[in-house]
Amino acid sequence: MILDLHTHSVRSDDGRAKVDNYCQWIRKKELPLDGMVLTEHRQWDDTSDYRDLEDRYGLVILKASEVETDYGHVLVFGVNEDLVNSFDFARIDNPLPEVLAAAERCGAFAAPCHPGRRNVGLFAHYERKGVVDAVHTVEVLNGGSIPGEDELSVEKAAEHGYRGFGGSDSHIVSRIGFCATEFDDTVTDIDGLVAALYGGRFRAVSLREPV
């Protein structure tokens, strides 16, 4: 199955997409997505409930977070109360090793996103501050990348032996599904997603229309 692991809704400061409209768009455009993960910026959204939309559109809709660290932005899947109390999701300078350790300790899965991006990508910081040993997986395809960024992500991920996944990083409706992740196993809930990510049986896919 294919999930877009990196999307933003109106709950993010720069997000302009309503989740209902993402669902309608996926169905209307017949995108090969089975669902999406909402990764709102610098917060854990513990209030939104998308189960009705899941049922109405037959899509998996999960919630996660995009946090900011001293090594760039990081997606955290499987956020729970313990993790929310482990570090400040609103900060823009959380130490990456602490975020990765907290995620593992709390049964979540954390991985840097758009690692080939200037300033907010992992590999830009590797050049200046060295490698972080606890990193194991990165987002190698990101729908918001400019030319050269994903190429760098793929190249460096291979160099470091990291697994790679994909996400659109959509902030408006029509950009969902540009990139996504194909899983060998079926994922229906957040625990299943965390297990599938730790299991490693997935790959990044680009679904962009040819230019």
């Binding site: 917060q43 900011e68 932005h73 609103a90 300078d93």
Partner: protein, 154 residues
Amino acid sequence: MSDTEGTEPASTEVQEAKAKYVGFVFDTATFTAEQDKMLAWAESVGETDPRFTDPSNPDFQAHPTFTASLVSRRVLPEDFPKIGGPRGIDGGKAVVIQQPIRPGDRLKASATIADIYEKTGRSGTMTFIVQRMSFVNQNDEPVSMVDWKMIRNP
């Protein structure tokens, strides 16, 4: 301009600035909607709708985002701290159109700070200062609201 704009600020100086300045009117200004400027604006962007290009049209009015160019004398409150760094970038404008603006309309604008927050991006650490201009016409009817995202970075 979503209703969830902004997040909890990260640094103390941003927190303090947010508490002190958000929501308070720090400047006012008046403008007259000049027909020739309205027309020149519409023509320069290739508009073809006669409501915006033909002054003899009974519904002639300013192009929807015309107020985006109208700024108060002060961009920020007089004693606003130098947060975020010296570099300034125009991050974007969000315009809400409430009523058509007609030639000769006298617009009164009030300027407030709508939000202050920090995030990181390709440009590094960015402090967002959202300045809001609210416009009413000579009949005190709201005509437009413009949110201007000013980005400051080191």
